[in-house]
């Protein structure tokens, strides 16, 4: 009985509707491209290209669940990317070292955000706008915007395996870690608790500071990791490569069904959000949509699919209420 209601709940959830949207879209694209879009090499290319922003989106998910919003993540990512690239150019190093550097740098900057958010009690949007500008400003001042390239051979000579490992492998690891933390640890429950009702969480003895430190630290670490992937793919480290794409990443998370007021959201939803954005962008080229129409088509597809999703979720809720009344 219990199992059955859990199943029923899933079929009525937002994630299930989103999954349907993704499946329908995949079928439509496959039909429109004569099957090209579902060939394994295309799927791998697509996941590889979107893994960087996917990893960053997973970090954003944590912040939004905790009731905040972070838009400084691309600035944080730019710092991590630059430090990692500088280390490689000057000291050589290997993959383990650059992962540690980019995760460490990202987490460090994230912790600064956390302390500010926790102590100043102003909307997190304002704080992260400020930190974003400060970080970019400092970066611009110290680097004068020079792009870094010409990395050592172990980083610049990509093989199919290394490409897959660094991009899709890292994304999978990030998703699994995030899923484990949110579903299986006390900290995960606390993140939801703080996002759902911060006062109630405080009264239950949750240390809001430790949750903030964890959430923003994690988001920073994810941003740093995403920056590493992007650097590996494009073989360049630059400030402006990441700047300005904040909305793309937030779109992935928000399409994934997270509640912007906090307390709601899942890793599975975010994964679907990432896949949806990737499918749309990749599909536009495979179908041959003219770039003059691209934005219009993407916007229309998102709007239409979410009208249907929203309507279905509402209908399901209404039915639930009716059933409840009948009982």
């Amino acid at each position: 009985m219990n199992n059955k209601t859990a199943k029923n709940k899933f079929f009525k959830s937002y994630e299930f509707m989103l999954l349907c949207v993704v499946i329908v879209l995949t079928i439509v694209l496959a039909a429109a491209t004569g099957g090209k879009s579902i060939k394994p090499d295309n799927i791998i290319d697509m996941l590889t290209s979107y893994s960087a922003y996917g990893v960053i989106a997973v970090g954003c998910l944590f912040v939004i669940i905790s009731g905040g919003i972070d838009i400084s993540f691309m600035a944080v990512a730019a710092v991590a990317q630059y430090l990692m690239a500088l280390y490689m150019l000057n000291m050589g190093g290997n993959f383990v070292v650059i992962y540690i550097i980019s995760i460490g740098a990202g987490a460090g900057l994230g912790l600064i955000n956390a302390v500010l958010v926790n102590r100043l009690k102003v909307p997190t949007l304002i704080i992260t706008i400020a930190t974003m500008n400060i970080i970019y400003g400092l970066m611009m001042r110290f680097t004068s915007g020079v792009r870094l390239h010409g990395f050592p051979g172990w980083f610049s000579q990509k093989t199919e395996a290394s490409l897959l490992f660094v991009s899709v492998g890292t994304l999978a690891a990030a998703l699994l870690t995030a899923w484990f933390i949110l579903k299986r640890t006390k900290m995960g429950r606390r993140v939801y608790a703080v996002g759902g009702n911060i006062e109630a969480a405080k009264r239950c003895g949750v240390s809001v500071l430790s949750v903030h430190l964890f959430v923003y630290g994690f988001a920073g670490a994810a941003a740093g990791t995403g920056a590493l992937i992007k650097c590996y793919l494009s073989q360049q480290a630059s400030i402006e490569a990441l700047y300005g794409d904040e909305m793309d990443v937030l779109a992935m998370v928000v399409l994934g069904g997270v509640s912007l007021s906090g307390g709601k959201g899942s890793v599975f939803g975010t994964l679907l959000g990432i896949v949806l954005v990737a499918l749309l962008s990749n599909g536009m080229i495979l179908v041959g949509v003219s770039s003059y129409w691209k934005d219009l088509v993407i916007g229309a597809v998102i709007l239409i699919s979410f009208c249907i999703t929203g309507w279905r979720v509402l209908a399901a809720k209404k039915q639930e209420r009716k059933e409840g009344a009948a009982e």
């Binding site: 290319d45 915007g145 390239h149 360049q236 700047y243 080229i285 495979l286 041959g288 770039s291 003059y292």
Partner: protein, 346 residues
């Protein structure tokens, strides 16, 4: 404690107001003498012209080299010339910056527009205040006294198209990358490349409408991979925007298809060097951005001095100049190959 703080804040506000009114008072005085001859007199030898150069985006190598040219001009001619610009290639940001410059009372504004139409009104209001406006990479800009181009567009597009066609054997499909669908220069070249190839090499077909990924190497890489899967006859990428060839070349390197596919376009020599040497980028084309920066300031100062620009106008060490309405064309492109990329120094 609170009282002290509020006192301090008030003090700061009053002081900053006073500072503002001071500087704007100075501006007012200058505006009255907006006649070029008079302003020349009012500027003593120690009172330099202030020439602000607004670039598309600060922080990329191209505009760092551009800035070198501006700095060189400032040193050579003893003027206060400096570079500013938005941190993303955003026309609205440029409008804000130019408005601030107008209010701060500069003598001349040089601009590399992100969007010609968006900037029209703000440039006109600068002219109304007696500020000299010079643009570059935006021919026939409304609101500019003069526009200067470091290449002759049609000749440049033909140079790129001809080399591309030769390299890929004059048949197959080609893709066109531009920085954005609204960058005037990239789109003018793209238009001419399409016309030229349709006319001279009818066997070469454009695979899909031009794509806006020329300023983002990761996006260009992804787009290249997707295009190669979609169009089996695709054998040539013509990329305008300095990151297009890099991304395309990176994709070809990953796919082990170097040599099968031609990649030509704008590159920063040092950035494209590894790909030029591996053969992933066939050839690169550009002009020297330092020359653009230098020439913009040169023209601005020429106009500030109250001199006319006519057919006899020339700039030292630069190629032939032809004047077409309010646009100055200088034929000065550079071709970048595996052998010569080191010579350019950027």
């Amino acid at each position: 404690m609170k009282k002290v703080l509020s006192l301090l804040i008030t003090l700061i506000m009053v002081l900053s107001l006073a500072a503002c009114s001071n500087s704007s008072g100075g501006d007012g005085g200058e505006e009255k003498s907006s006649e070029p001859a008079e302003s020349e007199e009012s500027k003593g030898s120690d009172d330099q012209y202030e020439i602000a150069v607004v670039v598309k985006v600060v922080g990329i190598d191209y505009f760092s080299v551009f800035e070198d040219g501006v700095k060189k001009f400032a040193e050579d001619h003893n003027v206060n010339a400096y570079v500013t610009g938005p941190s993303t290639a955003d026309a609205a940001e440029q409008v804000n910056i130019i408005e601030d410059l107008i209010n701060s009372g500069v003598d001349a504004i040089c601009v590399v527009p992100n969007d010609a139409t968006v900037l029209e009104s703000v440039l006109q209001s600068a002219q109304d205040k007696g500020i000299v406006v010079v643009t570059t990479e935006s021919p026939d800009q409304v609101g500019a006294d003069y526009d200067v181009e470091m290449i002759i567009n049609d000749a440049f597009a033909e140079l790129v198209a001809e080399d591309a066609a030769k390299s890929c054997g004059g048949s197959g499909e080609y893709a066109l990358f531009v920085g954005s669908l609204t960058v005037p220069l990239h789109n003018a070249w793209a238009d001419h490349v399409e016309e030229y190839l349709a006319d001279k090499y009818p066997d070469m077909k454009l695979c899909t409408d031009r794509i806006a990924c020329g300023e983002d190497s990761a996006l260009a890489r992804e787009t290249t991979l997707d295009l190669l899967k979609t169009y089996s006859d695709l054998n040539c990428f013509i990329c305008f925007g300095s990151q297009g060839p890099i991304g395309a070349a990176e994709a070809l390197t990953e796919q082990n298809r170097i040599g099968e596919v031609t990649v030509v376009g704008n590159i920063i020599p040092s950035e494209g060097s590894t790909y030029l040497e591996s053969g992933a980028i066939t050839t690169g084309y550009l002009w020297n951005p330092a020359d653009s920066g230098y020439a913009s300031c040169y023209i601005a100062q020429h106009l500030l001095d109250g001199k006319e620009i006519d057919e006899s106008f020339s700039i030292e060490d630069m190629g032939d100049i032809s004047l077409e309405d309010k646009t100055l064309w200088i034929d000065n492109p550079i071709t970048i190959t595996a052998d010569n990329w080191e010579e350019f120094g950027f």
